[in-house]
Each structure stands twice: as C-alpha cells, then as structure tokens.
C-alpha cells in the first residue's frame, strides 16, 4: 500500500541499522512513548537488531491501558443500565474492570456496540431516539479532534440522547512525570508522530530545554522508528539535546490548527489519574463547561464504585518502563489475552500484548 510499503523496505532498514551501529560508542536508553511504536518495534524485532547497549524502554502511550480503573468501572455500570446503547472503540471491550469487562456486559444483555468512528455513535443516537447512546471517549491528542467534533455535531444537530464518557490523556505531562521520576533511566524520547500531527511540536521545546533530553518526532512504520532511533542516538553521541522531526510527511511544526481550535472549544485541561501510574497534574482533557450537558458522568448517576485492581498485575511498572512484560510473573501464565489481568495484555497498543503475540515462545519456560 502506498506510503506504507516503502517505509518497511528491508535494505533501507539495514542501512539505518548499520549507521546506528557505526554511531554508538556506549549504552543508551531511549523511550518510545507510543504503544503503536512499541508494536512496530516488537513485531519487527527492531530492539533485537539494534546494537548491544541501545535499549528501547516502552512508554505509557497506550490510552486504553492508562484509562483509570474507576472510569472503566463507571463505563461497565453505564453500559449495564437498561435503555443505554454503549459505544466504544474495539480496544476497550476486553479491558478488565474491577468486575468483568464490556464484553461480559454485552454477554449478559447489555447493548454494547463497537464503532469505527465516534460519528457512528451519533448516527446510532439518531436512529434510536428512545435510547440513551453513550460513547466512550478515550485517547491521546490524536483522537481528541474526532471526539470533539462528534460533540459539536451532536449539538448542532440537536441530538440530546447522546453523551460522552471522557478520559482523554496528554503526552507532554506524561514525559514530565517520567523525567521527574527518581527511577527514570530515559535519555532520549521518540515522540508520538500522530499526536504531533494534531498538536504540532512547540509543546516539546520546553521539555527538551528543561531536561536536556533529545526528543525526535517519529512515525510508525519500521523505517520511521529506525530513523527516530538513529537521530536520537546521533544527538546523544554528539552531546546535543534538540527537538527534531523525523516524520515530516505527516507532521507540520504547527500541527493542525483547525483541529486544535475544535479541541480547545470542546475540552478543557484537567488533572487525570493514569491507571497503574497515579494522578499526573494537568495531564488530561474533560468536557468544557459549555458542553457539560454531554457529559455521561453527570447524566448517569453511577455511585458506589469501589475499585479492585489485580494484586498480581504489574501493568503500572510496564507502563512506566520499569520492567519488560516478560518480567511479570503473571505474563503468559495467569495473564493472557483471553484472560487478562491488566489492560496492556488486551490493547492493540499494549506492551504485554505485543510481547505475548510476538515474543512469548522466545522466553525460557
């Protein structure tokens, strides 16, 4: 497929790998923030092809994984409410809450529907005026324009039986949290390309300056990831810390101003709890006051939520890059995609799912 296949060319990959190997003189630890990049790395064995000493630490950029347990439990309760059609991206369906998941709600009679686009949920609301349609609005900055536009469309068309359960998260505050952590080992970041497609690059300048850390905006195909790594390593070896764009075909320095304006209209910044990590100040978006009537949290009075996280699951450490998935005792034994203890095992961007899919046979029994 055009603009995908070219960026998986094995000859060029070898060339980039050789250049990285020729550049490296000592160990470096880089973090790819986005779970999509984690999957590219693990699926293609990029981490195993890198010269010894260049370590990829997998970051928290999996929105499904970091959606707080309380919000998942709230979603389950709303979805189980009679008269509700609960719409979600497919990734969310198997994410474990304290007691079950959306899949189980569906199997016990709840009307849970997987949608491709949030606009599909508005259409469902139009077609079912006697039902309350709730969309599970999660994601990073990449997904926010879609969810924000959907709320504007619902308002414009006067659709009142539609609401959003919002749990949006933001990348720059997460990078701050990682850099401020006493256990931080990260020396350079591959920033998530499509987040920057929307938001642009300016937000990362202060992080580069404050922490003296290279940040390279990086795409998602194998060559994109290798180029991001190559540029980060080169900066580190040369003692530089700069913001670079290794994904210019999709990222303009200013991002997408039209999308930014819509997001700013519909959402406002808030503190957000990240599952397994804790509260990160000003790291999320919630519906702005002007759109509070679309907030499913106030529309559905779901009280008495008491969350219980698995005692075995070490997803929080995986999401912070403190351990690799295979270092968790539950990995592949008590925790599998069919019977997950934590969200990273079921999300298409979860590090545990990537290792389960592509690496589990390599692990010693």
């Amino acid at each position: 497929m055009k603009y995908l296949d070219e960026f998986g060319d094995p000859d060029l990959a070898r060339r980039l790998l050789d250049d990285i190997a020729a550049t490296v003189t000592r160990p470096w630890a880089l973090m790819e923030v986005c779970g999509g990049q984690t999957h590219t790395i693990v699926r293609n064995g990029i981490d195993q092809l890198l010269p010894e000493g260049v370590e990829m630490i997998h970051g928290p950029g999996c929105p499904v994984c970091v959606t707080p347990l309380e919000t998942i439990d709230r979603a389950l309760a709303i979805a189980a409410t009679p008269g509700v059609i609960f719409c979600s991206f497919g990734d969310m369906i198997r994410v474990p809450g304290s007691h079950g998941d959306l899949f189980r709600v569906k199997s016990t009679g709840g009307d849970v529907r997987i949608v491709y686009s949030p606009l599909d949920a508005v259409r469902i609301a139009q077609d079912n005026p006697d039902k309350q349609v709730v969309f599970f609005g999660i994601g990073f900055e990449t997904t926010a324009p879609a969810n924000a536009m959907t709320v504007q469309v619902a308002r414009r068309q006067g659709i009142t039986n539609f609401s959003l359960l919002v749990s949006h998260v933001l990348v720059p505050p997460a990078i701050t949290a990682i850099m401020e952590s006493p256990s931080c080992r990260v020396q350079g970041f591959l920033a998530a390309g499509h987040v920057c497609t929307v938001m642009g690059m300016a937000q990362y300048e202060p992080l580069v300056a404050k922490y003296n850390v290279p940040i390279v905006v990086t795409g998602f195909e194998p060559l994109d990831v290798l180029e991001g790594i190559r540029r980060t390593v080169r900066q580190l070896e040369e003692g530089r810390a700069e913001l670079e764009n290794a994904y210019p075909r999709a990222v303009a320095p200013a991002g997408n101003p039209v999308a930014q304006a819509v997001v700013e209209d519909v959402f406002s910044v808030c503190d957000r709890a990240w599952r397994g990590i804790g509260v990160i100040p000003r790291s999320g978006w919630r519906l702005a006051e002007a759109y509070a009537d679309f907030d499913a949290e106030t529309r559905f009075d779901v009280s008495g939520i008491i969350t219980t996280e698995s005692e075995l699951c070490r997803a929080g450490e995986v999401l912070q890059g403190l351990i690799k998935p295979v270092q968790c005792e539950a990995f592949g034994t008590t925790c599998t995609p069919r019977s997950p203890l934590g969200a990273p095992m079921v999300s298409s961007e979860g590090a545990c799912a990537a290792y389960y899919q592509f690496r589990r046979l390599e692990q010693p029994a």
Partner: protein
Amino acid sequence: MCLGIPGRVEAVWEVHGMPMGTVDFGGIRKEVCLAYVPEVEVGDYTIVHVGFALTKLDEASALETLELMRSVGMLEAELVQGTNPDAPGEPGPGRHP
C-alpha cells in the same frame, strides 16, 4: 489507538455542511470526515484516524525522507569503495544527512 493509516481520497462531498470523503486504503474504502483537512482534493493522500483525516500527507516530504534514508552511510561507503553499485535508489553524490 493512535494509528493513522495513509489512504487516497477518491471522492469528496458534504453532509449537513460537513466535508466528507471516500478514502481508499489499498483496496478497502471507508467514509471519512474531511473537516480537519479542508485543503485535500481527490487524488491526495491523507492520514486517517478513527474516521477523521488528520493531515494531508506531504508526498514531496515522504520522497525526501526515503531519499535521505537511502543516502545514509553512502558518503562513507563511497569514500571507502570509490563507488557503490549495489546501493538501492542510486542517490546523487554529496547527499549526506
């Protein structure tokens, strides 16, 4: 979730004032909201995420990136070997990142 897939815009129309389009992803066609990329026209490539086009794919920049990758290590190789007939793409001399 943050995956954006490049596809080619096949048709453009409006629904209730909202620009929409059909985008072809290597044979699979989807209806996509084009409100965030008012500049795209039929034949352009765009990156689509959850049914929304987020940017017009800059084709010149894509080719430039590939060209740059092809040139990685070329100067060194040329200095060592004089020529490098096996190099894919055969970039011109002096192209070094």
